[in-house]
């Protein structure tokens, strides 16, 4: 009779101790995430500060740029935007009809749908250097040279599974009652998909596009062999194109400290671009859903 409350008391104390310990652990891991992010941003910005001049983003490399002379990386900024926008559009054009098909034309437990999802997941897991090698082979077979077009197609392949699965996940959350409501008004599958389902997932779609855009912007391995590099602005699909990750890579390889600083400045610019896209994704995701059914 007497031991019972005592042991309960001890158990309670032990539970509280455990709770406190885990609380600390979670606090530490959460702070580590913040610390890493600030550290990366801080170091990159600090290292790049001497090189961060307005000419970095307004000029292309001049003569002797890689030896420390005047110039900027406008070629890589514009090139990265060109190749990523093109690749994302291309991936979207391929992914969207496929995902709509999975979610409104096939039935929910369709074996086909599961197989396609499995394949997309596998594609997602393939490292982008493999896509780069594949794109390179494709290029050789088609007798193409390293160009904006070849890089765009390869990058689109990298982005495709990311885009498709992200949109797919948001579409799967659309309640079947919503589709039934449209069906029962006599809407065809196509009308249901484009006028009801797409509207419902619109914020998720925008977020998925921006995530794919961010991923494409930072990917170096897929464009290494396929996009080439150039110091000039790219004005044609068949010209080689400069990209920011490769700009960082080449400049960091330089023995000149001024050029290395510029590599960090390029990294800072790339990071800021991706940061802007992530923030835009958050903002748009929150504000586009006016009509969404919760």
């Amino acid at each position: 009779m007497l031991r019972q409350p005592l042991s309960a008391d001890i158990r309670l104390k032990r539970r509280k101790r455990l709770d406190r310990a885990f609380h600390c652990l979670m606090l530490i891991s959460a702070s580590l995430v913040v610390i890493f992010l600030l550290l990366i941003l801080g170091i990159i910005l600090g290292k790049s500060l001497p090189a961060l001049k307005i000419s970095m983003i307004t000029r292309t490399p001049g003569t002797g740029y890689y030896l420390g002379q005047e110039g900027g990386i406008l070629n890589a900024i514009v090139g990265s935007m060109e190749i990523t926008t093109g690749a994302t559009l291309l991936a979207l054009i391929i992914a969207l009809p496929g995902v709509i098909f999975l979610n409104t034309y096939l039935k929910k437990k369709s074996a086909w749908a599961e197989l396609i999802r499995l394949m997309l997941d596998i594609l997602w897991g393939i490292p982008s250097i493999v896509y780069g090698a594949f794109g390179f082979l494709l290029m050789l077979t088609l007798h193409l040279r390293a160009s904006l077009l070849a890089g765009m197609v390869t990058l689109a392949l990298v982005e495709l599974p990311i885009l498709a699965r992200s949109v797919d996940e948001t579409m799967r959350l659309v309640p079947s009652e919503l589709k039934e409501a449209a069906f029962s008004l006599g809407a065809s599958r196509w009308q249901t998909a484009t006028r009801v389902v797409l509207r419902q997932v619109f914020p998720g779609l925008i977020t998925a596009i921006l995530i794919a855009l961010g991923r494409g912007l930072g990917d170096a391995a897929s464009v290494l062999f396929t996009a080439g590099y150039t110091d000039r602005l790219t004005t044609s699909l068949l010209q080689p194109v400069a990209t920011l990750p490769l700009a960082i890579f080449f400049q960091l390889n330089s023995p000149f400290p001024e050029v290395q600083q510029r590599a960090f400045a390029s990294a800072a610019i790339l990071t800021l671009m991706i940061l802007a896209i992530s923030l835009a994704a958050r903002f748009l995701g929150r504000h586009l859903g006016r009509h969404r059914i919760k």
């Binding site: 009652e177 919503l178 008004l185």
Partner: protein
Amino acid sequence: MVDHGRISLKGVNVFYGKNQVLKDISLNIPAHSITVIIGPSGCGKTTLLKCFNRLLDEVEEARVEGEILFDGQNIYAPEVDVTQVRKRMGLLSQKPQVLPMSIYENVAFGPRIHGLQNKKKIDHVVEKYLRLAGLWDEVKARLSEPASRLSIGQQQRLCLARGLAVEPEILLCDEPTSALDPQSSRNVEAQLLRLKENYTIVLVTHILRQARRLADYVAFLYLGELIEFGPASEVLTSPQDPRTRAYITGEIS
């Protein structure tokens, strides 16, 4: 039994996989009246309703046998266009499911997908059916607001207006008041009683009092079988089958 119906079922069987949920249902549903389907939960009421507008087509492993004649035409015949069948039958579901668009667009959706483009005509249609559903006065000042901001009772009447706007001949109602408060329920019931002048209404409910208030005809389903069908006054007051009697007196539920 009343014959000469707009919808008649002949030997309808429904299976989910190997599981038979509706057994040999034959039934004539009279036009311009309210036919109420009652029965304990899981007896196949909703399944029966979903047979009518072929929503079962969307359900995995669901299989329908037999014939459902609508004005003499079998709606399960291979040459029948399912969207045309559904256009002729409005559905009011248990939980109102508004579309992710404005109040106005919700009502305009049906007419638009069936080809109406003239803005003035659509305006007219939207107002007409919002009035018919008894919602116009409450929403006329905020037609462009998201439909999801309406109260749940208003949403159900919006769904009614939306369904009516495709000009169906039949209204299928699946426990349309089960998610609503008493005031909104009365409101929806009042609309249904007014609408039966021009529409054939099939209503599924598990509320016997609601059946008494609304029904012209009553069908009692039990374990997937049609036990009894007839005028409401007969079925609800002097049922022939002991199972119907047991359900109505509350012995089985």
